[in-house]
Symmetry: C2
Subunit: 204 residues, 2 copies
């Protein structure tokens, strides 16, 4: 928010960012436009250009915001779970999936290499927040499997990340049966359970 009737907006960058995120989930990436976002904020069609020289810059900023929320969602789930390796991994997976199904368009944007500019340090840093979670949940697994080397760590991360990431993509692209969450907002969908990779990798 800012002053109302003045020529300058006050915090246009943040306003555009929030309006963009809202519009993205409302109408999808293809139907979204810089001009509509500007209009929604109440500003002329060329106003965004000073803050986001090109559409790609806005998408980058939106993805940054997304990665922050993404990591926070996983962390929140992990905080409610037992500290052991398997429950932590299940919790992170649950958060991963909840974020993807709750913000499908943003999720697709965040992981579409073609739409973003990863040479942007801000995006790189935001993305690393999610990677850190992955590292934390995979390290104990690697140890339990006797793969406590750099290579072993990478192997476990690749397997676990692939499974979670694929599950999320298949869910938002309607390739898996979805069931409504009992009473969640925003309208989060949770896919059916499937086999539990945590249990497979970490037998009792």
């Amino acid at each position: 928010m800012a002053r109302q009737k003045t020529y300058h907006h006050g915090d246009l960058r943040q306003a555009l960012l929030q309006a963009g995120l809202a519009m993205l989930e409302e109408v999808g990436l293809e139907a979204m436009s810089l001009r509509k976002i500007a209009a929604r904020v109440g500003v002329s069609h060329a106003a965004p250009e000073h803050h986001f020289p090109t559409l790609k810059h806005l998408l980058n900023a939106m993805a940054c915001e997304g990665f922050g929320l993404f990591a926070a969602t996983m962390r929140a789930e992990m905080a409610h779970a037992e500290p052991a390796a398997a429950p932590q991994m299940r919790a992170a997976s649950k958060g991963y999936l909840a974020f993807a199904t709750g913000h499908p368009h943003l999720f697709r944007l965040m992981f579409n290499a073609n739409l973003l500019d990863w040479s942007d340090p801000a995006l790189e840093e935001a993305g690393s927040l999610g990677l850190a979670v992955l590292r934390e949940i995979c390290w104990p697994v690697a140890i339990r499997l006797g793969l406590d080397t750099e290579e072993g760590r990478a192997s476990v991360e690749q397997l676990v990340w692939s499974q979670i990431h694929g599950h999320a993509h298949l869910a938002i692209d309607h390739k898996l049966p979805l069931i409504d969450a009992p009473a969640g907002l925003p309208p989060v969908l949770v896919s059916s359970p499937g086999l539990d990779l945590a249990a497979i990798l970490l037998p009792d």
Copy 2:
């Protein structure tokens, strides 16, 4: 091909489809346009409309073509592998990954629910070619795990598909280290190996 100097093209639909597929991989989805495709084929900007009323119709047709090649790529790998469950599963995975990394833009298109119209029966049918492969490689695994029920089958398919699909997505979005294939064309990239899910699910 068809006649050269006549008013009618002869097989414009197929020509547009092939030009579209070529342009998609050359410049990406965002930089592709109906008008450029039409120009490439040597036809006016409105000519495509009779064959593809809207851009989405062309994308649907391109995805159909993609699913055909997708299934064929997996089948080709499976044909070269031993008939046992684990080798077949590894072969299908290899084909899955080869297709995705060989045609990253097409792969993203095929699995982006909001770019396609899945109520189109042609797309539904093309997509099922890939699903059939998944079913074939997962069924023996479900049996070996004692999950030879409808529910068990679905669980195994979900786990296996998620892992392969996620691996493919992460690979084309540059989230996994890629190594050049020894001598493959088209320029196929293969990601690093990681843990072998087939070996985990099917211990000797």
